[in-house]
C-alpha cells in the first residue's frame, strides 16, 4: 500500500510504554502496534512487540518537540514527538516521498506536516 500524506494528527505506529528513568542504563521501550485495517474491520493478527530505543534515557520533550531515534533490533528509525498531550512515536519518514519528518513542522497541539510538500 502506498499511503498518502495526511494533514492530521499522526497515527502512532509505535506506542511509548515504559520510560525506565530510574534504572541504569536507562532505556525507553516502544511497542510496535499490530497492523490493522484503517477502518477497523479486521482483527489484529499479531500481539504487540516491544523494542528498545537506542540512546534514549528520558522523554522530556516539550509540546511541539520531536526527536529521531533508532530502534534496537530493527533497521528503522522512529520519530518521538510530544503532540501536546503525550509523547508518542511515529514512523520517521513521510509516507508520500519519504521525507525525514524530523525536519517537518510539529505544532504544539500535535499537527505534523512534511518539510517537502506540507502534507
Amino acid at each position: 500500500m502506498n499511503p498518502i500524506c495526511f494533514r492530521a494528527r499522526p497515527t502512532p505506529l509505535y506506542r511509548v510504554v515504559k520510560p525506565l528513568l530510574n534504572n541504569r542504563p536507562a532505556a525507553v521501550i516502544v511497542t510496535r502496534q499490530p497492523s490493522t485495517s484503517l477502518f477497523g474491520t479486521s482483527t489484529p493478527k499479531a500481539m504487540a512487540q516491544e523494542y528498545k530505543l537506542k540512546g534514549v534515557t528520558s522523554l522530556d520533550l516539550k509540546p511541539g518537540s520531536k526527536q529521531e531515534v533508532e530502534v534496537e533490533g530493527l533497521d528503522t528509525k522512529v520519530l518521538l514527538l510530544n503532540d501536546g498531550t503525550k509523547v508518542q512515536a511515529v514512523g520517521a519518514r513521510c509516507t508520500h516521498y519519504g521525507a525525514p519528518l524530523v525536519n517537518g513542522i510539529l505544532t504544539t497541539n500535535g499537527r505534523l506536516t512534511c518539510p517537502w510538500h506540507g502534507g
Binding site: M1, N2, P3, I4, R7, A8, S37, L38, F39, T41, S42, K62, P63, G64, S65, N103, G104, I105, L106, T107, T108, N109, R111, T113, C114, P115, W116, H117, G118, G119
Partner: protein
C-alpha cells in the same frame, strides 16, 4: 437514515473526500465514478517525472477501496438531476445520492490556432494516457520538443526532458512563472533552466503549427508571431485548464461561473444547492488566508483539492462543525524543488528575498503592506511548511521582521 455519498471524479480531491468520510466514521455507502480508467493517482508525478505505470502512480490499490467499502465505477457522468438527486452516465447508468461531491477536475486547453487541432504529436498533459503518448513520441530521446506555455506544466515537462532532448519553451510572459512567482524569481529560474540547455522564447505569441515535410499528418514546426520558426518532433501544450463541468453546462438548476466553475461556501457546498459539494479545480471558494479577505478564488493544486475533499467530508459527517482552515500549498520540480504556500489573490506589492537566488537557496516572501500573503522557497526547507502552519494560525511574521532577516523556522513549533 443511511446516507449515500456519490463522488464524481477520481483525482486528489475525490481521494481526500473518500478518506475523509471513512476516517471520520462515515458508515454509509460511497460510490466513486471516474472516467480516467484507473484508480486515483498521484497526478503530480506525470508532469514532474513522466511516470506511466499506474500501479506505481495509484495512491491505493483495489483491495484498499474494497476494504473501505468504496465502490469504484469506470464511467463518465453526463448529467445531474438535482431535483430527484440522481446522476446519469455515458454507459446509461443512473445513480442516486443523498450527498453529491463533484470533483471532476480540469480539462487542458487547446490552442485555437492553425494546425494545432489537426496535426498529430501535439499533446496536452493531464492523464496517464497523455503521458504514455508523450513518452512514446519521445521514444529513444534526442527529439526536438517545443513546449507552449511557461507555467508549471510546461516548465516541469521541460525540466523532465531537457537532459536528453532539445527543448524550447514559448511563453507569453517576460519570465517563466512570472504571474505566480514574480519577475525576479522567474528570471532566476529561467537562468537555471538555461543552464540545463533549455531555450526560452519569452514575450512571444504563437502564430501556427506547420506539418512535418516527411509526414504531413504530424507537426514539424511551430511558428511565432515574430516569424521565428522552431522545428518540432513533438509539441506539448501547457496553456492552462478549464473546469471540467461540461455535464452541467445546460443544467437548468445550477449556474456555472464565467470560467465554468461552481461557486461554493467555506465548506465547499455549492451555493444555491442542497447536499451538493464542489472541490478541486472546479470549485471557486472564499479564501480566508492572509490577504484573502474572503475573495472568491479557484486554485488548481493537488493539496487544495485534497483539503477541500476532507473539508466537504467533514461537513457531511458533522454539519455544524466549523471547517479547519488550510493554507494552500504546492511544489514543483524546476531544476531544484520549489515550494510555495499562501496565495496572491489579493495582490502583493513587494517581495522580500532571504538567501541567494543565484545559489538556488532562497525564500521569497510576497507581501501586501506588512502582511505576508505567500511564501516560495528553494533549498530552504522547512521554511515553506513552517510558514504554511503559521499562516493557518494567523501567526506569520510581518514583512519588516523578515526584511530584518528573521527566519520563520527560528520561531520554533507553531502554537
Amino acid at each position: 437514515v443511511e446516507e449515500r455519498v456519490l463522488v464524481v471524479g477520481g483525482g486528489s480531491g475525490a481521494l481526500g473526500a473518500v478518506e475523509g468520510l471513512r476516517t471520520n466514521g462515515f458508515q454509509g455507502p460511497i460510490t466513486l465514478i471516474s472516467n480516467e480508467g484507473y484508480l486515483p493517482i498521484d497526478r503530480t508525478k506525470l508532469s514532474k517525472a513522466l511516470m506511466t505505470d499506474t500501479s506505481k502512480l495509484q495512491w491505493r490499490d483495489k483491495d484498499y477501496f474494497e476494504s473501505a467499502s468504496v465502490e469504484i465505477v469506470d464511467d463518465e457522468v453526463t448529467g445531474v438531476d438535482f431535483g430527484t438527486k440522481t446522476v446519469a452516465t455515458k454507459l446509461g447508468g443512473n445513480y442516486a445520492y443523498n450527498k453529491l461531491i463533484l470533483a471532476t477536475g480540469g480539462t487542458p486547453k487547446m490552442l485555437p490556432l492553425q494546425g494545432f487541432k489537426v496535426l498529430s504529436n501535439i499533446f496536452t498533459l493531464r492523464t496517464v494516457h497523455d503521458t504514455k503518448q508523450i513518452v512514446d513520441a519521445i521514444g529513444d530521446k534526442g527529439k526536438k520538443i517545443v513546449v507552449v506555455g511557461s507555467s508549471f506544466i510546461g516548465m516541469e515537462f521541460a525540466n523532465a526532458t531537457a537532459t536528453d532532448n532539445e527543448v524550447h519553451v514559448i511563453g507569453m510572459e517576460g519570465a517563466p512563472l512570472e504571474r505566480i512567482l514574480g519577475t525576479q524569481v522567474g528570471a532566476a529560474l529561467q537562468k537555471a533552466f538555461e543552464g540545463k540547455g533549455v531555450k526560452f522564447h519569452m514575450n512571444a505569441g504563437v502564430d501556427k503549427a506547420e506539418p512535418s515535410t516527411s509526414d504531413p499528418s504530424k507537426v514539424g514546426a511551430v511558428l511565432l508571431k515574430d516569424g521565428t520558426r522552431l522545428d518540432a518532433d513533438l509539441v506539448v501544450l501547457g496553456v492552462g485548464v478549464s473546469p471540467s463541468t461540461q455535464f452541467l453546462k445546460d443544467n437548468t438548476i445550477v449556474k456555472l461561473e464565467d470560467d465554468g466553475s461552481l461557486k461554493t461556501d467555506e465548506n465547499f457546498c455549492v451555493v444555491g444547492l442542497k447536499d451538493v459539494y464542489a472541490i478541486g479545480d472546479i470549485a471557486t471558494y472564499p479564501y480566508h488566508g492572509p490577504g484573502g479577505d474572503g475573495k472568491y478564488i479557484r486554485i488548481e493544486h493537488w493539496n487544495v483539492a485534497q483539503n477541500a475533499g476532507r473539508t466537504a467530508a467533514g461537513h457531511i459527517v458533522a454539519p455544524t462543525r466549523k471547517p479547519a482552515p488550510f493554507t494552500p500549498v504546492f511544489w514543483s520540480a524546476l531544476t531544484a524543488q520549489l515550494r510555495y504556500c499562501g496565495n496572491t489573490i489579493g495582490g502583493y506589492d513587494d517581495v522580500i528575498i532571504q538567501g541567494s537566488l543565484e545559489e538556488g537557496k532562497w525564500a521569497a516572501f510576497y507581501t501586501k503592506g506588512e502582511t505576508v500573503v505567500a511564501v516560495a522557497s528553494m533549498g530552504k526547507d522547512p521554511v515553506m511548511s513552517q510558514s504554511a502552519e503559521l499562516m493557518a494560525l494567523g501567526k506569520m511574521p510581518r514583512k519588516s521582521q523578515l526584511k530584518d532577516g528573521l527566519d520563520p523556522v527560528s520561531l520554533g513549533p507553531p502554537e
